[in-house]
């Protein structure tokens, strides 16, 4: 009869370990071995440089549309760095850095962005789903995969990435709900980069945080400083523990910022100010992490400089390899590959039709 407040099992924490100035909350600092810290740094740095390289290639017309990751390196690496090879990575379309960590090659990424579907080929043994463009739709795939893990009694987990915009999509809610109902080992990593193309985060939801969406589905949610690799890592480790011990999913909201364009076809000046970007630049995840590593005496400016050289050379190698590959690929007939296990007769006929047309076109070009 009386009106009482309902006590919910969860509340929303905000986690920050390393502040903008590189100051550390010692009590929260995760225990990460030095070589792993350096590996995370290497990928952060590689991601940053690779991003710039792709942007440059795109501007030269050498590859097509690309969604840069600049500014979101910590969100991605802080989370994927807890994954095992047997875990499954379910990306959206802005996870190039996480992809590299998970074993994807720069060459493949370049090929894909250059319009060659072969670049999307996921090698056997890598449990990564391909890029998913329809916003939020991939969250459900992680749920299905996690169901398989639970059904097969594995202690693996699925980690799915998506942005703030995706939290408005129905699939996101269905995924959280399903994962909650079936108590599945999924880690939902929301990279709240504040912009869904031109629409700011505040226009996506009236809710104070995105993490609190978890509460509606009876699962834990946490908000972290997404530009703080250590904070992301802490949240991911907690989620991992839950997932592997059968305690179900977790939603992690990484508060970060899309430092660059939505895609190479986008002009952010139409909807946001340079000041805002400047404000976020101060919280650059890479610089912060470098500061931390320097404090830990794992890194020096000199080392950073030489690493930069090394990574750039690596990138150049990849670009060269990719461009070489591009020349080899591109037979239009390949579009008929991977439609179905068997090519039905009518499709076979269409394939022959294309082959004929290609020949005819070539002949006409010769004559013409």
């Amino acid at each position: 009869m009386p009106r009482t407040e309902i006590e919910l099992p969860y509340h929303i924490d905000y986690i920050s370990v390393l502040d903008e100035n590189g100051e550390l909350d010692k009590g929260l600092e995760p225990d990460i071995p030095d070589d792993e810290l350096l590996k995370i740094h290497r990928y952060m740095f590689l991601g940053r440089l690779f991003d710039a390289q792709i942007l440059s290639l795109q501007r030269q017309g050498r590859i097509g549309t690309f969604a840069p990751t600049k500014g979101q390196e910590a969100s991605q690496l802080g989370a994927v760095s807890i994954m095992r090879d047997s875990d499954w990575f379910v990306p959206s379309f802005r996870e190039a850095v996480a992809f590299l960590w998970r074993g994807a090659t720069m060459e493949g990424i370049l090929l894909a962005y250059a319009g060659f579907s072969e670049g999307n080929k996921i090698p056997e043994g890598q449990n990564n789903l391909p890029v998913a463009v329809p916003v939020g739709s991939q969250t459900l795939h992680a749920v299905g995969i996690a169901y398989g893990m639970k059904y097969r009694k594995k202690d693996d987990l699925a980690m799915v990435f998506f942005g703030d915009g995706a939290t408005s999509e129905g699939d996101f809610h269905e995924a959280l709900n399903f994962a909650g109902v079936f108590q599945l080992p999924v880690i939902f990593v929301c990279q709240n980069n504040h912009w869904a193309i031109s629409v700011p985060r505040k226009n996506q939801t009236r809710a104070q945080t995105l993490a609190q969406k978890a509460l509606a589905y009876g699962i834990p949610g946490v908000q972290v400083d997404g530009n703080d690799a250590l904070a992301v890592r802490v949240a991911a480790q907690e989620a991992e523990k839950r997932a592997r011990s059968g305690e179900g999913p977790t939603l992690i909201e990484c508060v970060t910022y899309r430092m660059s364009v939505h895609t190479t076809a986008d002009d952010p000046k139409r909807y946001r100010t340079d000041e805002e970007v400047g404000e976020w630049a101060k919280r650059d995840p890479l610089e912060r992490f470098q500061k931390y590593l320097k404090t830990k005496k794992l890194l020096t400016d000199k080392k950073i400089a030489s690493l930069e050289e090394e990574l750039k050379a690596e990138i150049q190698e990849s670009v060269k390899a990719a461009e070489k590959k591009m020349k080899e690929l591109g037979d239009p007939m390949d579009m008929f590959s991977h439609v179905m296990a068997d090519t039905p007769p009518a499709l076979e006929a269409q394939k022959e039709e294309l082959a004929r047309d290609l020949k005819d076109s070539a002949r006409e070009a010769d004559n013409g």
Partner: protein, 326 residues
């Protein structure tokens, strides 16, 4: 051999495939405790447990999307969308992911899932419960679209669909669910997907149909024989996509005349594609324009007017007579 309704035959297919392969799981709304609102999954929960017969929350996209993830992981989900009229919630999962995961991952991942849904009219249902929208799915490359016409082929086709390495949309005619019983052997039977079936031999006319419309079509063929002495050949497509055009184009070469029957609206329906194939392959054999007996391009009426909308043997017979006399 036991006699079964289509519901029982589908249940048998599911049970046997689940017994054979522990990667086969069932999910959907009310498929577990309730055994499905049409009882297709009756008693499977008791037999296989809640881990394999999953009552999901009420969210079609969730059901389809989760199935895709399961399939990618190596399971063989058979998901049920309670009515095809609600499958549009899950449409984007099917179109954007299920149909193209193989291509997108360049062959690394396949989606061996089956999406079952009841379709079609004739059971005096509410709005959104009677549509026949197979063309939506047939239009998507990478998907198979299968519609059985009776208990025995339903069982065999569902078994094949479950074993198929690609996603299959499996439409079950509600009007057929309990319409009649057929002998269905206990031993596993399969039918190849993408192959049509010669349901009746004839020489004067080719009738092409599928699913629940096979009944009035066969009835019309019988009327034509009895009243007109016309031997109609009837072809049951069974798979809408990929469309097997070999049998019906060959048949039209023999008969020179064709009637196509479906309950879906006429424009851009399966009939349009069938006619195109006939034009491409059998044009010079045609002796009359091809007739389509279909639903009209309207919202399928509520059941008070439904009978006038759905093709029946009389309409089909009349159409056949028209083209026979031209």
């Amino acid at each position: 051999m036991a006699k079964m309704t289509m519901v029982q035959a589908l249940n048998l297919a599911l049970r046997q495939q689940m017994e054979k392969d522990d990667s086969v799981v069932i999910l959907g709304e009310d498929v577990g405790r309730d055994g499905g609102v049409f009882r297709v999954t009756d008693e499977l929960l008791d037999k296989f447990g809640p881990e394999r017969v999953i009552d999901t929350p009420l969210a079609e996209s969730g059901i389809a999307g989760m199935s895709i993830g399961m399939a990618v992981y190596g399971l063989k989900p058979v998901c049920e969308i309670q009515f095809s009229g609600f499958s549009y919630f899950s449409f984007h999962q099917i179109e954007s992911h299920a149909s193209r995961m193989r291509w997108r991952s360049q062959g690394r991942f396949t989606v061996p899932m089956v999406l079952r849904c009841p379709y079609g009219g004739g059971v005096r249902a509410l709005e959104h419960h009677s549509e026949s929208r197979e063309a939506f799915y047939a239009h998507i490359p990478g998907l198979k679209m299968v519609i059985p016409s009776g208990p025995r082929n339903a069982r065999a086709l569902l078994a094949s669909a479950i074993q198929d390495p690609d996603p299959v949309i499996f439409f079950e005619g509600k009007a057929l669910y309990r319409a009649f019983r057929e002998e269905v052997p206990e031993e596993e039977e399969t039918l190849p997907l993408g192959k049509s079936h010669l349901a009746r031999e004839g020489k004067d006319l080719t009738m092409i149909s599928y699913g629940a419309m096979m009944r009035p079509t066969m009835e019309a063929a019988e009327i034509l024989k009895e009243k007109d002495g016309v031997e109609a050949e009837v072809i049951d497509l069974m798979t809408i996509s990929p469309l097997d055009d070999e049998l019906f184009t060959k048949s039209v070469k023999k008969t020179g005349r064709a009637v196509i029957v479906h309950e879906a609206p006429r424009s851009f329906g399966a009939g349009a594609e069938i006619i195109s194939r006939i034009m491409e392959k059998s044009f010079f054999y045609l002796e009359a324009p091809i007739a389509r007996v279909t639903g009209y391009d309207v919202v399928i009426p509520l059941f008070a007017r439904e009978n006038a909308y759905l093709p029946d043997a009389q309409r089909i017979t009349r159409a056949a007579r028209r083209i026979l006399s031209s």
